[in-house]
Symmetry: C2
Subunit: 350 residues, 2 copies
DNA sequence: TCGATTAATGTAAGCGCTTGCAAGATTACG
DNA sequence: CGTAATCTTGCAAGCGCTTACATTAATCGA
């Protein structure tokens, strides 16, 4: 079932069929109708591979993320996809599970499919890969890693700043012993986050007691990390998580152990995923504007004014502290409950 | 940058390059080495579109889901993808957001890309589409909709049975006023679920009081539905949700209103998504073996014994009641708390 | 050492589609 | 009614790759 079959049935040449299918060039109305009818009768579906090969319009973007399961990544994907669809583009996703090797093969796959733009929203990254992508002419967006180049746009979130706000806020509530939960700290960008926490903590309060533990991304990882902390003997009054997704597991573990949050222990996340409002207690976190990021990616990847793509710039996205129910003043002594958890205080989000 | 460039650089013909790249036919060791070197030096990446066109091995599956955000769908995708990768396949996802029209275009897209197999895991479905897919030679798996045909495998979950267990269980706990929360009930397969609930409820307990409300999939939808129920004046003692994802929102709304779950009101979900264990109280639900479903899909779509594909069968997957913390005996009178929530009772899951 | 095998590589015909160019069909206008 | 200008449509050359088949090189037994 190919162009030729359709052409025959409509008594035209393949060129004409192609023209009506792509709505390009001029075709007499009657002919067009005949072609369309033939297409429908034959239930013809163009072979996109052939189309791309032949140099047809390439309306496909690629996106590579570390962990689709983490709503943070999924949200970015969803807005990107929505934007892309609106402009007639498709987007292909690939998931790396934080495995650098997997990243490499995913990039190759995307290049192999000849996507017209690639978003790399991952926390792991080999420098050689960055170079390879920089060398290619492909428009690329990196999130959180690498540096801007000719064909590369760079989006970074001001993690430092967000972490600072969180620590500052907790410190203001009287917390002096904090624990940090991260994951995959062997991967540089993530280790970087841990380091950021430590630096901020040290800078802000030299006499702060901190501990860090690492695990896997996700609730289960958070749960494990929480266990480790709780059995460590450090007895922090606040647990700072590298992201909300892990904080979910922390909350659960504390609940299971009958440790009241926030009365006995405060917990913070990072990202402000939708679920952060749907757990109890609702999570205090730093909001990362994922929709904005999705839009930015789309902007950078799809040439709006044909031929006049702006590239090579770097965008720094700021975070916003969102105080909900999972944080409260530090307990001086490890006592029992202290009444109802307090309601949201600072920023109110829709 | 194409095969020919590589061929030139390695002083061989394109055929030879192709052979070493696909590891097919016999090539002298020395030549192979030269080719590989040329490939690396040139950073050559084969054009997959051309490869498919030329009749190379098609190792791509497609999967269409209604709502990637719902962990239920995501889980299936993840196991399918893992299985597929293990066999050297890629899988393309498309998201429909429960929009039938979107389903149609997604199917066309997949067919256009000439995937070698397609999994349609959606809750909306036009009969015409089923027919169209049945007519195509493409191996297809439908989840929860349609019927088995020559090239179509059908996976159904025994929703009826699962719902029966839930209602039965709640009835056993003394619940006599139940509310059902669904979503997109204009879509047949989902309306079907609502109907199932009603039938089961009626059959099991003719004097049961029920109400149903519909909304959008997800926590927000669950929250809205919960509000509707709570202001309806029906005062159910148990809320049965069509899936866990919505139940999350219900739990949150009840928490916000200081309605104790399960002491004042019991809540059940369906699916047993990972998060069900990570909310408080942990969700009582019916477990749908998503991994098994993912494996089944992979089995059906990838010919294991080349040329000998089993098709046209129908698989009925059974559910399992998982009792956690969100259900308890019904309150006789609308009183206050009753101590700690009880621990898991029945099936213990890893 | 010399055909006869067998291994290694090259040749070239597509796969289904797009598109520049040219030919044929229409229309306009004097 | 003739010719130039304008529309429509067809022709055919690829796009980059795979693969059946042809060709050449290497190997072997007698």
């Amino acid at each position: 079932m190919n162009l030729e079959d359709v052409a025959k049935r409509a008594n035209v040449s393949t060129a004409t069929v192609s023209r009506v299918l792509n709505n390009v060039g001029r075709v007499k109305h009657a002919t067009k109708a005949r072609v369309i009818q033939a297409v429908e009768e034959l239930k013809y579906t163009p072979n996109l591979n052939a189309r791309m090969l032949a140099g047809g319009p390439n309306r496909t973007l690629g996106m590579i993320v570390s962990n689709l399961e983490n709503p943070f990544f999924l949200d970015i994907f969803r807005t990107l996809e929505a934007d892309a669809h609106r402009r007639g583009y498709e987007v292909l996703v690939a998931n790396t599970d934080y495995r650098p090797q997997h990243l490499v093969s995913s990039v190759r796959l995307m290049i192999g499919r000849r996507v017209s733009g690639l978003a790399v929203v991952v926390s792991e990254m080999k420098p050689s890969l960055i170079r390879e992508l920089a060398d290619s002419r492909l428009p690329v967006v990196f999130y959180d890693v690498g540096a801007a180049r000719a064909n590369i746009t760079n989006i970074k979130v001001n993690y430092q700043n967000g972490m600072q706000r969180i620590v500052e806020y907790l410190y203001g509530l009287g917390h002096r012993r904090m624990a940090f939960i991260g994951h995959h700290t062997t991967l540089e960008p993530l280790n970087d986050r841990k380091r950021t926490f430590l630096e901020v903590a040290q800078a802000y309060a030299p006499r702060l007691k901190v501990m860090t533990v690492g695990s896997a991304d996700g609730p289960v990882g958070g749960q494990n990390a929480a266990r480790e902390i709780l059995t460590s003997g450090v007895h922090p009054t606040a647990i700072v998580c590298v992201n909300d997704f892990m904080a979910l597991g922390v909350l659960r573990e504390l609940h299971a152990r009958r440790i009241a949050v926030p009365d006995e222990l405060s917990v913070t996340g990072f990202d402000d995923i939708g679920l952060a409002q749907f757990v109890s207690p609702a999570l205090t976190t730093a909001h990362i504007p994922r929709e904005e990021i999705g839009h930015l990616i789309c902007e950078a990847l799809i040439p709006s004014h044909p031929g006049h793509r702006e590239h090579g710039h770097e965008v720094l996205v700021d975070t916003e502290l969102v105080v909900r129910e999972s944080t409260a003043p530090a307990q001086t002594r490890p006592a029992g409950r202290r009444g109802q958890p307090r309601r949201p205080v600072a920023v109110a989000r829709k």
